[in-house]
Amino acid sequence: MARAVNQPVMSKAKKKSLMKRSIPIYIMALPGLLYLFINNYMPMPGIVLAFKNYNAKKGIYGSPWAGFKNFKYLFATSDAFIITRNTICYNLVFILVNTFFAIFVAIILSELTSKWKKAYQSVILLPYLLSAVIISYLVFAFLSPENGFINNSILKPLGREAVSWYQKQEYWPFILVFVNLWKGIGYSCIIYLSTIIGFDRGYYEAAAIDGATKWQQITHITLPLLRPTIIMLTLMAVGRIFYSDFGLFYQVPQNSGALLPVTNTIDTYVYRGLLELGDISMSAAAGVYQSMVGFVLVLGANLLVRKLDPDSALF
């Protein structure tokens, strides 16, 4: 899918032989598809849970219907606005910032010829492989009011007063965006990098012969060729715009209550509220709500893309 460069129209016979040649590839994909079917499609009827008063003894289908009652708690309270705003706004910023920097780094890496290239790549990827709990303590090592690096080794020598980071809301939108970028950039960067490496070197050679500078090559060859990948990844991110990275919003602020107005998202709200309640139907309702909105947003965004640039649309 990444190779969305305009392909010539194929004849029927050619198509058939291509299909034949692809059979081994389909077989290779089979276990993965089976996994997806078992793990992701078979449980889908469980959606009805969101509309039931779940009772373990009566089972999922035997439990009485509850209508939309389970959804009420997501909208009925004063927090509804805050958690929706936080979830969407953070995700929008994440999409913009992460895409920009991932492409930026990917292009730099692709232009590098140093023997350290592989090492750079690994180092950038490393944070992505760390669990949120570990990241939260790395952040804590910087921000701890008592022993943190920033308070003790930066602010103190500068003669500035120490900041109790975990009590001050105003800093956290920036901290979270930064941490998310640091954590996620390695992964999206690799996707862009692998796409760039796949480009036909002929374009660049031709451009170089015509006297194009590096900058011109980037803006006129790399970026336009990258467009379908960018659009696809962005569309997928848009589909998840109603979800938040639980670890980022719960663990990284160390679950500090004082920061709730800027760190509470739909997921953390549901988690905190239902931790003791343990109501399966209500958590299912939150999941259904997030998926539905995500689904509609993907369709909408794709529609928009198709209007503007039919070739780049996902479907």
Binding site: M1, A66, T77, G257, G273, D279, G287
Partner: protein, 557 residues
């Protein structure tokens, strides 16, 4: 074209993955079905059931506890039949199924075959999976005759109809007479819900001494503080004192040891462990502020009591006694003392606490209590009751086995400590300890959950504890102020949206206030208005109505 089809499928898969990824993960659930309200007429039976069997006073069982002719007949009948029914008993521990479980089941069965004519199979699961497994077993009708409802939740179990009503067919009166002697009456009937007798609390301390402060002895000695003269009586475990005295000690500690944190408290325990306030129904959104005398649900957060405790914490925090990291710190208090970074912390008091905390901290601790209130909250007895499964095939045998667990020291020792000579051995002074070559890491049966066992009071006492710790505990239990709402459980599914919103608000303000990081005069009004927005009044009203109905059914007020 194919590319498009594939893309559609992929998008579908992604969306489905999102669906599947969420939602899951909650193991137990509250149901909407209200408890089977079988009418209020039976409630008076609660107080008389204990004495129904009065006509058979002279009958005693093997352990010398009163029994009935019905019970003796039932045992004889099982023995005569030649085949003993096997009863499954379930509870949780922290380490998962112990290696020696079959051997211990065998040992228990040897005893119960002789005394009751039943075999016993233990099922011990680790805490993380216990609730989920138990819910599945109960829902699917798998055999599980007796179990502890800890972490599964007593209230959900009642609501879902999983529990056997021990009033039915006079089950308790006929076969549970030993329990009626062992468990004090004010706690025995605490798990009667809607006229049904669904659970029996384990024998443990049923209350707590409020506002206990534990200070490491080495630092008190370091500032030359004379605490020895402060004990009221010889043999007291803790010193009764007041807020100002403790503040004075903290001040001296802080001056002498400026690098160490003076004081620390586990988050979210300040109200529960310092104030005689009952979180009736399981949360503080509407509490009993005068729980011994009144069943009026009031708002804790606007009360003077709450302002007072927050101010006290604020004063300590501003004086520098708390760690600046306290808001985010999740280290336990006792490991911090052990590591040498902390000098004092708050704890709930109970007999044996001094030995327990000194063990945990790896050094002698001196215990203080601000005020002298010992309080038993309404949820004390339904946090870990023993219950009979409503689907058990032989409720009589299950009741008799439970009765034996509460009265037979042989069974209690097997449940609590394992087999003598294999897991543990007796010491010369009457304690028990690990058998030779055995320790906590290689013992085949070392659950360390004796508070969950039916009756640890009749088991042997492990080294390091006073030999009379259980007598002291029994006295302590008798002297506790018991909440009037003891035994009330609240089904909040009708106000679940308010509950989620209130929990989120409380999380936002709780630690800043209760760990003294912000001035309560400023912050409490802010929290108060946020709670009101989140529906505090609706929630409190629902709770009050449920409580009133419960009080009427149970003849309180």
């Amino acid at each position: 074209m194919k590319k498009r089809v594939l893309a559609v499928v992929l998008t579908g898969v992604m969306t489905a993955a999102m669906l599947a990824g969420c939602g899951a993960g909650n193991s137990d659930s509250t149901s909407d079905t209200p408890a089977a309200d079988s009418g209020s007429g039976e409630s008076t039976a609660a107080s008389s059931a204990g004495t129904t069997a009065a006509g058979s006073e002279d009958l005693k069982d093997v352990n010398g506890y009163p029994t009935t002719q019905d019970a003796i007949d039932a045992i004889q009948e099982r023995k005569d039949s030649g085949s003993y029914p096997t009863l499954v008993v379930g509870f949780m521990n922290f380490a998962g199924t112990p290696k020696g479980i079959e051997r211990i089941s065998q040992k228990i069965s040897e005893r119960t075959e002789e005394t009751l004519g039943v075999d016993v199979e233990l099922q011990i699961m680790d805490m993380a999976s216990y609730a989920q497994n138990m819910n599945l077993m109960l829902a699917s009708g798998e055999q599980m005759d007796l179990f502890n409802a800890v972490s599964v939740g007593f209230s959900p179990c009642v609501n879902k109809g999983y529990l056997y009503d021990m009033y039915e067919d006079d089950l308790f009166a006929k076969y549970g007479q030993g329990i009626a002697v062992v468990v004090p009456e004010q706690y025995l009937y605490a798990d009667v819900v809607g006229g049904g007798f669904y659970g029996i609390t384990s024998q443990k301390e049923q209350g707590q001494g409020l506002f206990g402060i534990s200070i490491a002895q080495q630092y008190l000695d370091g500032i030359g503080y004379d605490y020895n003269s402060m004990y009221e009586n010889d043999g007291d475990e803790w010193i009764y004192t007041d807020y100002d005295t403790i503040t004075d000690i903290f001040k001296q500690l802080h001056e002498k040891y400026p690098d160490k944190t003076v004081f620390m408290t586990d988050k979210g325990t300040v109200v529960g462990q310092c104030m005689p306030v009952d979180a009736i129904g399981g949360d503080y959104f509407g509490s009993l502020l005068d729980p011994m005398n009144s069943l009026t649900v009031e708002d804790l957060f606007s009360s003077d009591q709450y302002m007072e405790i927050c101010k006290q914490m604020y004063q300590w925090n501003q004086a520098g006694y708390f760690s600046k990291d306290a808001l985010t710190d999740t280290t336990g208090t006792t490991p911090a003392v052990k590591a040498g970074s902390l000098m004092a912390y708050k704890t709930a008091l109970k007999p044996g606490i001094k030995a327990q905390e000194s063990n945990l901290c790896g050094q002698p601790m001196v215990m203080f209590q601000i005020g002298r209130e010992n309080f038993s909250a309404s949820n004390t007895c339904n946090s870990m009751p023993w219950c009979i499964n409503s689907q058990t095939e032989d409720p009589v045998a299950a009741m008799q086995l439970l009765n034996a667990f509460y009265t037979d020291p042989v069974l209690s020792n097997l449940l609590c400590w394992g087999e003598e000579g294999v897991e543990y051995q007796k010491t010369d002074d009457g304690h028990i300890t690990f058998a030779d070559g055995v320790d906590a890491s290689n013992s085949e049966y070392y659950n360390n959950v004796n508070w969950e066992m039916p009756n640890q009071f009749i088991a042997d006492i492990w080294e390091g504890n006073d030999l009379d710790v259980w007598e002291k505990t029994a006295t302590f239990n008798e002297k506790c102020d018991v909440s009037k709402g003891m035994g009330f459980i609240f089904d909040n599914s009708e106000v679940a949206s308010e509950y989620t919103a209130l929990t989120n608000v409380y999380t936002q303000y709780r630690d800043q206030l209760e760990l003294g990081f912000e001035n309560p005069e400023k912050l409490i009004p802010e929290m108060e208005s946020a709670l009101k927005d989140a529906g505090l009044e609706t929630y409190m009203q629902a709770k009050q109505e449920a409580l009133d109905a419960w009080a009427k059914d149970n003849g309180k007020e």
